[in-house]
Symmetry: C3
Subunit: 237 residues, 3 copies
């Protein structure tokens, strides 16, 4: 990057995601990129399908430009950002001359990001792409009158469970139940509970509900992981 765009300012978002975990990367981008300057270029290299016929893409959106494999890693950011241009990366003149089959982050995405940092437009990088790959994400099931079924969308490095339901979608006086554990009501923050208590609260990521074990690991404590169902009812019923 710096060889081609010496003025570029590099910020590492995270190098500690679990290997091959496209959904964890999708969540991280959804969580963090709204807080970057709009002219940021986000280069994503969680790419287990590297070298296969999976496409790669560049997308210009209202909250930054993305360069990534087309493997669903942008599923969540594309849902909530206006996209002005999106192309399939198929203009090899902007790549490294020798492209390996197993490291497109170095050989394709980084040179492309450097060209973008130098002012090249997204549309120069390839032909229009209108059907980006989407991950099969869970969504809350509001079907039953007595109970909403939400799901764990993400487990962060504190072991905290981020759910796929947001504050405005909750019933009044909610009761949460997952893997045999019940949580009554909403807390405001961790220290409103005693250490070792399982709590539910509105998290700092776009009003998604979260479940944490104060001073501990909720994932380990409950055995929950991404996809685990969380049953939510109202205490009023």
């Amino acid at each position: 990057l710096l060889s081609m765009a010496p003025h570029a300012l590099l910020v590492d978002l995270c190098h500690l995601l679990p290997a091959h975990d496209i959904l964890a990367a999708a969540f991280l981008l959804y969580q963090a990129t709204p807080f970057f300057p709009c002219d940021s270029i986000h280069l994503v290299v969680v790419d287990p399908g590297v070298g296969s016929d999976r496409r790669a893409l560049a997308a210009r959106t209202a909250c930054g430009t993305f360069v990534a494999p087309d493997n669903g890693v942008l599923s969540l950011v594309l849902d909530c950002s206006e996209v002005s241009t999106m192309v399939c990366l198929n203009a090899p003149e902007y790549w490294r001359s020798a492209v390996s089959a197993t490291f497109h982050g170095r050989d394709i995405f980084a040179p492309v990001a450097a060209h973008l940092a130098n002012g090249l437009s997204v549309s120069s990088l390839g032909s229009p792409l209108v059907d980006p790959t989407r991950l099969p994400l869970t969504a809350p099931d509001f079907g039953s009158p007595d109970s909403i079924i939400a799901h764990v969308l993400h487990v962060d490095h504190f072991g905290t469970l981020v759910l796929d339901i947001r504050a405005d979608q909750l019933p009044p006086r909610p009761v949460f139940e997952l893997t045999g554990h019940e949580i009554r009501g909403l807390w405001r923050t961790y220290s409103d509970a005693v250490p070792g208590q399982l709590i539910a609260y509105v998290g700092s990521t776009r009003n998604h509900l979260e479940i944490a074990l104060t001073y501990g690991q909720a994932a380990q404590h409950t055995g929950a992981s991404v996809g685990t169902s969380v049953f939510i009812r109202s205490e009023d019923r």
Copy 2:
């Protein structure tokens, strides 16, 4: 940060501290910040009490400006730096407009640090604070004529034990004893001992004594952790 202070230079000190470990963060700041330029702004987000009534503070000192939760994380740096101004962060006009209850690093500390980077004075950020929270730190016990009781202050990522006693506080020809292990005398550096040997030496952090297992993990080997007592006597007695 870069949205508000695009010229700021970001340096990551560490993202690998154990969760909720305020003392480990306090030690890291004590160890590293003297080697940063004096006009650095140190933004600290080890903050298990986020959203509670714990205060937050900004402090201008002879070795840099700090923005942090008032949870004791500055205990060690404030002990050894001259503080010129210290305020409680209670001027919300310098915060993000929407402040979550669980991520003040993003919503309060980062905007405040950006304002400081743009030249705002510490005193603008809130009202004076004179009683910052201190951690209940151990100190060596020099009470007995035959033996000093020092303690493990920090365990680093090599498993090395940093003690709360400094070189100038040692008796001549010291003998160390912890968890049934005895170490006679001082080494100069790791490679002066054979691999797998437990050694004591004057470390590189402000002359604190350290105990290491060469090419191994002293913490694991001895079972010691933060707070473990280390008995020190002189071989001369």
Copy 3:
């Protein structure tokens, strides 16, 4: 570094190598430094012999300048880069005034790198050094007519095994055998195999062969580690 060379641009290559692992550091430099700008200064602090009589060095090469302990960590980069100047760091006027016995990264290498960033020449830093320490690296054994014996040179954080043999050194239609596992033929990339399959392919690092377990950890699956023999024959024989 920034105290002495405020204009310097810092890029962290890696802070996650196993403790004391000089060979892992040597491989990382071999893998990554060709992709940095030629005027980069690479500061290396994997230094278990710190404070002993091991020398320290600075080397100006066709692909960057290196400041490092003379413990073999440059073995691989020096094999493939033209060296124009190499010196032993023995001019203390370019060091921190107080030098600890256990942290030369801070007290010697960083000040020296800052001086280099400020334009000082490598030759000013000490006297010429012509016999840098080399690690006892493995090399493929081509002695037998029926079988080449290659070795694991590096295990990356995906558990992938990088071998000490390159693509141009392979027999036609190669068959690999290690720790009782046989792999027939070469794959192009991970996703050409089914998840959980052990595959061999030409990796992205200088055409070295690699062995991976798709969506898994080859090192754990095979029990192989650095130095493990890999027997390679041709299916044609």
